[in-house]
């Protein structure tokens, strides 16, 4: 049965009902955002791929404990965020190659693409200078587009705490970016 257009709750119900392959849709639906979030958190594409893959497997094994399947996305972000923080506790980002595959000038790249790659490298350097908590708050709010209520569900923190972290992250990012100019 094609479940491509099914809601998250319907897909979760199918998987729990024994249709293991339906979980592939969960992966396809959310991997891009989760990989981006983990990549920006960890500063490493390989570490991000490992963290997100492990998180999906854990999510599958504990899917029955997902109390609100309609909010599957938030639940997945919570698992990945925890995985990233565990990774950073073992291996701080200062020890991680910021960009293990830096953009290499290709003759076919346009000037706009090269400029974008330089911008990204600059912003990533500023981002990794934030504490993991501030980095997480900024990414969830401004890059992944979560509401403060969803962020509270992901992080387990109170909304005023998260707002303060986002504010501090904005200030720190601006200061660092101005320093590069």
């Amino acid at each position: 049965m094609d479940v491509t257009g099914a809601s998250d709750a319907e897909v979760v119900a199918r998987v729990l009902g024994g249709d293991r392959e339906a979980f592939g849709l969960v992966v396809r639906r959310y991997e891009a955002g989760l990989l981006r979030f983990a990549g920006r958190m960890l500063g490493s594409r390989d570490a991000a791929a490992d963290a997100v893959a492990e998180s999906f497997v854990r999510a599958y094994r504990h899917l029955a404990s997902c109390r609100e399947p309609a909010r599957l996305r938030t639940w997945l972000y919570r698992i990945v965020a925890n995985r990233c923080k565990s990774h950073l506790a073992r291996r701080p980002i200062a020890d991680v190659s910021l960009d293990e595959a830096p953009p290499v000038a290709d003759p076919t790249d346009t000037e706009v693409e090269l400029e974008r790659a330089e911008q990204l490298a600059l912003v990533q350097r500023a981002l990794v200078r934030l504490s993991p908590e501030k980095r997480e708050a900024f990414l969830l709010k401004h890059v992944e587009g979560l509401s403060y209520e969803e962020m509270a569900s992901v992080t387990g923190e109170r909304i005023p705490t998260l707002k303060m972290r986002v504010h501090r992250a904005r200030e720190a990012l601006l200061r660092v970016l101005e320093g590069y100019e």
Binding site: R28, A48, A53, R61, A64, R116, V143, R170, L173
Partner: protein, 202 residues
């Protein structure tokens, strides 16, 4: 730290229209919006679907193998039990270690023990226990309230080891067992109970 004008935060939080800001403050807002947009670029990575699905399809190791791995893995365990629970803990430990295995009792292997789950859920229609011993699948281990006093019980034989578990009441309410030997926070933000099953035969 250079503080940003609070109106910039309000605009970025959707509480104030950027049009209400001075050109200088609008430039700050735009700077941060651009920064976020740069970070929003997708990472050029191959799909994880084949890798994840291969891991999911891989057979789960047998209980014996998981037990062996658990036993072989060095770990430190700290028990912090509230005094009021110490009696309950002592009773549970005594039950698990001294439970008489009579001739009519369940057939217990050398590396297995008995775990008894008890919860007080007056008015409940059903109570199940789910945990790491049954891959958190509801429905497989049901508790019974034989005398209908609201106290639900189940006794099961499990491979020796430590397990996280919760009760599922009426098929939808997940409740930790606050009389458990330990409670731990899991990565999903819940509090799971811990039961330690010791081998019944020594």
């Amino acid at each position: 730290m250079n503080a940003i004008d609070p109106r910039v935060h309000q605009a970025l939080d959707g509480e104030l229209s950027p049009e209400a800001l001075s050109p200088e403050l609008r430039r700050v807002v735009q700077r941060l919006v651009t920064t976020a947009a740069v970070l929003a670029a997708q990472l050029p990575l191959a799909s994880l679907e084949p890798r994840v699905m291969a891991l999911i399809r891989r057979p789960v190791p047998s209980r014996a193998r998981r037990l062996l791995r658990w036993v072989a893995t060095p770990r430190s365990i700290t028990f912090r039990v509230r005094p009021v629970w110490s009696l309950a803990l002592a009773a549970v430990v005594a039950l698990l270690t001294l439970f008489p295995v009579g001739r009519e009792g369940p057939n217990i292997g050398e590396h297995e023990g008995i775990a008894q789950f008890v919860g007080h859920f007056p008015g409940a229609q059903s109570v199940h226990v789910v945990g790491s011993f049954n891959d958190w699948r509801p429905g497989s281990i049901a508790l019974e309230d034989v005398d209908q006093d609201g106290v639900w019980r189940a006794t099961v034989v499990l491979p020796a080891g430590a397990y996280e578990y919760m009760f599922v009441v009426d098929g939808e309410r997940w409740v930790p067992d606050h009389l458990a030997e330990r409670l731990v926070a899991d990565e999903f933000g819940r509090e799971n109970s811990i039961v330690i099953v010791r081998p019944a035969r020594r």
